[in-house]
């Protein structure tokens, strides 16, 4: 292929602007959408983690996390690891001093954490072993975001003193913007000795995660064997806190992306279908065009052009289309990247790695070139392979039956693939709707919440002061204009942390003993929490002002708790206690009510067995954090500032962190499903457009080719309606055949992706029916113009056409 081939190809395309625009548009659409989505798959699954030798990084997991002392016992017993660090992903601290008090998310990490990851700071230094010694001065490493927002990127921040929950700490370093392993957006890193010294000896406080770097010659299997041995040893030494807790190492990349991998792989499958649809579309356009060019190619052959030469000329056209379509598609993918990411769920891992990088560019370019060259070569070979004399004689007699069939098959394939996308999109949309429609057990509209933590430095072990402060904050919040109710809870619904955990004890054994053990969540409340959240009392009464410190201890259990232990009987009057690892003595409470279940952790899972108790009646002093929640008849967003100010009226140094509306929290929990449905529906839209384009282009082309035949039919007495019916019927037949072919393909795709569906199965008839009807409708729409054109055919001109 030489420059003149490309020049001639460009000239030919310029002469057929409608064809060129259609082909380039179809390619751009297919390549653009698939590249944009591939960039997500690439960023999340394929790009290596931004650390040296990331394959050696391992998350060390254990059911219910690990305590500092247990985790520190793993280290000497697991020589497969070069290094290992314990860390607490999110620990809230109050940053006070200069500026407004703010609640920040600190990552509590052992200094080894930075060595495991091979991370270096942008400024200053990372934590060192000395920083994690008892009594060492407190130091912190800032995130790039906090450095920019709070300190305006001042390089003189090193050595500056901060007040973190009333404790002074010195800034020793600033990390780069990319350092965010879990996407937690940690504001700073601080050593356990500084932030959580009380966990140092607590084997029952399983709050930490562990990460390790394998030695170069070590395998995951070896690490697993060593960790299994140490978990058995700990189980024997500390049975109360280590019974049945097996330690399992998982590659870091798998750990980070494991739960989104199925969804992303399903999306990747959809990407391939989009590319196939685009290819089929291009093939149909090029088949039609090459059939129309048969006479020209035959003349060229008659004049002495070799078949190779002709193929090169056709390929030059394909190459130009590929470059134009692919380039435009990649540009669109780049231009819409931010918009796409804005729609992505907040918990999509590794979002910072999503970009149009070299691999995405290579993907888009390869897809374009393959589509452009392969699909232009195939029809060209068909024409060039024919006998030139026959081609010359046949010139003007229209499309040969073999080309007719090929065109028909390509359009049928396009429609079938579009059907797969539409049906898949329909299934995901129904899955999203099912998830959005699950009964929540509470009314999210009109509710606003904010998290706080009473600092130990000022509230210490003074339970009465803590209670007074919480009550005062609730009262201040209730007094806000527009607020109809306010309450305190240790954990609001759909909080992934879900409140305190404990083992339930019964004074009298309940009638039932569930196989799942006797664990339950405990949620401390103050004020009319159930009223504020719109939760329904099933039986008994809610807490009232008489349920105070020193009065008869009371509890309300949720329906799941009641059903699992009492079945159909009433639990009212039963005496229950919970015991966690801080507290060995049972503290019995009388069950006075049963409240409806709520979605506790996720929309898809049932509520935990839950015991609600009054905050005033708690027995330990460390339960000094929680949520202030209010209900308003108006817009809860308008209360954000007011809620913070209500807290400041009680404690001017106390910030509210993570102010949220319950409606947003519900939306966040279905964000992944929404995003997947959105992307696949986007694909389906592309498939639909491309399929319609294919049907239209082929019908319009065949109409031109059949002009003379239709003229003959007119001469024989056919009415305009008869001709329109012939053309529309041809389109409908193609669409119908495509749908018939698409049904088994879509069912297979649905079956293969059933694990990403919620509340619907791959057999859902609505998704398939809606996809079939949509496709038929748009295919008929696509036939309308050619059919109308056929109906308006001038018989004299048609009969003269050659």
């Amino acid at each position: 292929m030489n420059a003149s081939d490309l020049v001639h190809a460009a000239r030919r395309l310029r002469k057929s602007p409608a064809f060129a625009a259609t082909a380039v548009g179809a390619l751009a659409l297919g390549v653009g959408v698939s590249s944009a989505v591939f960039s997500i798959v690439n960023g999340v699954l394929l790009r290596p983690l931004p650390f040296p030798e990331p394959d050696r990084l391992v998350m060390i997991t254990r059911e219910g996390d690990v305590s500092l002392p247990d985790g520190r016992d793993w280290r000497p017993a697991a020589p497969a690891f070069e290094s290992m660090a314990l860390f607490l992903r999110s620990w809230s601290l109050d940053l006070t001093g200069d500026g407004e008090p703010m609640r920040i998310a600190a990552a509590v990490v052992e200094p080894e954490y930075f060595r495991v990851l091979g991370a270096t700071p942008q400024l200053g230094r990372v934590l060192v072993d000395e920083d994690d010694r008892t009594g060492a001065p407190h130091v912190a490493v800032l995130s790039h975001a906090l450095w920019q927002s709070r300190f305006a990127g001042d390089r003189g921040v090193l050595g500056r003193s901060l007040v973190l929950s009333d404790e002074p700490a010195t800034v020793v370093g600033v990390m780069g913007p990319e350092f965010d392993l879990f996407g937690d957006e940690a504001d700073l890193w601080i050593a356990p000795a500084a932030a959580t010294p009380f966990f140092a000896q607590e084997r029952g406080s399983n709050n930490f995660d562990a990460i390790g770097r394998l030695k170069p010659d070590a395998t995951l299997a070896r690490a697993q064997a060593e960790l299994l041995a140490v978990s058995r040893t700990l189980e024997a030494q500390y049975p109360r806190t280590n019974r049945g807790k097996l330690v399992v190492p998982i590659g870091l990349a798998d750990f980070l992306t494991g739960d989104v991998r199925p969804v992303l792989l399903a999306l990747l499958g959809a990407v391939l279908v989009v590319i196939a649809v685009s290819g089929a579309n291009l093939a149909s356009l090029l088949l039609a065009r090459s059939a129309a060019r048969r006479e020209e190619l035959a003349i060229r052959m008659a004049l002495g052009a070799g078949r190779g030469r002709l193929l090169t000329q056709v390929l030059a056209e394909g190459l130009l289309l590929a470059v134009l379509g692919g380039g435009l598609g990649l540009f669109c993918a780049w231009a819409t990247q931010d918009a796409l990411l804005a729609l992505a769920p907040a918990d999509l891992p590794r979002q910072q790695a999503i970009a149009i990088d070299g691999r995405v560019f290579a993907f888009g370019a390869t897809a374009s070139l393959l589509l452009g060259l392969v699909f232009s070569a195939v029809p060209a070979l068909q024409v060039i392979g024919s006998d030139p004399a026959a081609a010359l004689q046949g010139a003007g007699r229209g499309v040969r039956p073999v080309e007719h069939r090929a065109l028909g098959l390509v359009v049928v394939a396009e429609v079938a693939l579009a059907f797969v996308l539409l049906a898949g999109g329909g299934l995901l949309l129904q899955s999203f709707r099912a998830l959005s429609g699950v009964p929540l057990g509470f009314e999210p509209r009109g509710t606003l919440g904010g998290e706080f933590s009473l600092p130990r430095s000022r509230y210490g072990e003074d339970r009465e002061k803590q209670t007074r402060t919480v009550a005062a904050m609730v009262a201040e919040a209730r007094a806000l204009p527009g607020v109809t109710d306010a309450a305190y809870t240790i954990a609001a619904p759909l909080d992934r942390r879900g409140g305190l955990g404990g083992t339930v004890l019964f004074q009298e054994p309940p009638p039932l003993r569930p196989a799942a053990g006797t664990g339950a969540r405990v949620r401390l409340l103050h004020g009319d929490y159930f009223g504020t959240m719109g939760m329904r009392m099933v039986e008994g009464r809610a807490f009232d002002a008489n349920d105070r410190a020193g009065s008869e201890p009371v509890a309300i259990v949720n329906e799941r708790f009641a059903r699992q232990f009492w079945g159909e009987r009433s639990p009212l009057g039963a005496r229950v206690a919970y015991r966690d690892f801080h507290d060995g003595t049972p503290f019995f409470m009388t069950v006075v009510g049963v409240v409806a279940d709520v979605k506790g952790i996720t929309l898809g899972a049932p509520d935990f067995r839950t015991i609600y108790t009054p905050y005033e009646q708690r027995r330990v002093d460390w339960q000094a954090w929680g949520n202030l929640v209010v209900r308003t008849a108006g817009d809860p967003e308008a209360l954000r500032r007011g809620l913070q100010e209500a807290v400041w009226r009680v404690d001017p140094q106390l910030p509210l962190a993570r102010v949220y509306t319950l409606a947003d929290r519900v939306a966040e929990h279905s964000a992944r499903e929404r995003f997947s449905a959105l992307l696949v529906l986007l694909f389906a839209g592309v498939g639909l457009v491309v399929a319609v384009q294919g049907v239209y282009a082929v019908l319009a082309f065949l109409l031109e080719e059949r002009r003379r035949e239709l003229g003959v039919r007119l001469a024989l007495g056919a009415r305009a309606l008869d001709l329109a019916r012939i053309v529309a019927g041809q389109g409908a037949l193609l669409a119908f055949a495509g749908i018939c072919l698409g049904i088994p393909l879509a069912v297979a795709a649905g079956w293969a992706t059933t694990h990403v569906l919620f509340g619907v199965t791959w057999t859902e008839p609505f998704a398939y029916g809606a996809a079939a009807l949509s496709l038929l409708a748009v295919a008929l729409l696509a036939t309308a113009v050619p059919a109308l054109r056929a109906a308006r055919l001038d018989p004299v001109r048609a009969l003269r056409s050659e």
């Binding site: 003959v712 007119l714 001469a715 024989l716 007495g717 009415r719 004299v796």
Partner: protein, 235 residues
Amino acid sequence: MSEQHALITLEGLTKVFYTDEVETHALSGIHLRIEKGEYVAISGPSGCGKSTLLSILGLLDSPTAGTYILNSNPVQSLDLSQRARIRNREIGFIFQSFNLIGDLTVFENVELPLTYRGMAASERKARCGEALEKVGMAHRAKHLPSQLSGGQQQRVAVARALVGKPSVLLADEPTGNLDSKNGEAVMDLLHELHRGGATIVMVTHDPRFARHADRTIHMFDGRVVDESEIASLSA
């Protein structure tokens, strides 16, 4: 012959084509009568208006002005649907390039006008068989047009034209795409049909074939002229 017996009567028929600002008079005041059972040839040089006249006679086109009476009915200003109906029942076309539909068999091609008429399948079958017998192509009923010679294709086209028992057969250079032997065979077929009572109007520029007709109408520059006039115009 009396007025009542005329199958076709044209009075002052004019056809003007407008392209941009150019006005082309394809037909200028044609007066013509064709009796039932007559075999008329229309001849003349290229561009004289033969095919335009045939298109108007076949109701494929409408005149700009003038009157066209077919079977005692004025048809010059019928709507599309009425024209399609008359075309289907009263007119049979034979084209120069046969115009058989490639995807349909010989039988299906011949059947087509009857299908548009809404005729029952059994009757269609009988009529098609008869028409194909008449042109000697019954044995090829299941073949596709591409499997036939040019002469055979034109015979099938004649069968298709006859099958609806039209009032008139319009043939546009029916031998134009055939060698002389096949051309003669088609002309013999038309002659035979005429002897059987068919009215035929044939456009041809070949004087040998025009001689088969009862009467030849000469055209020049959109007008009907007599032979002497032709000679003076050509001089």
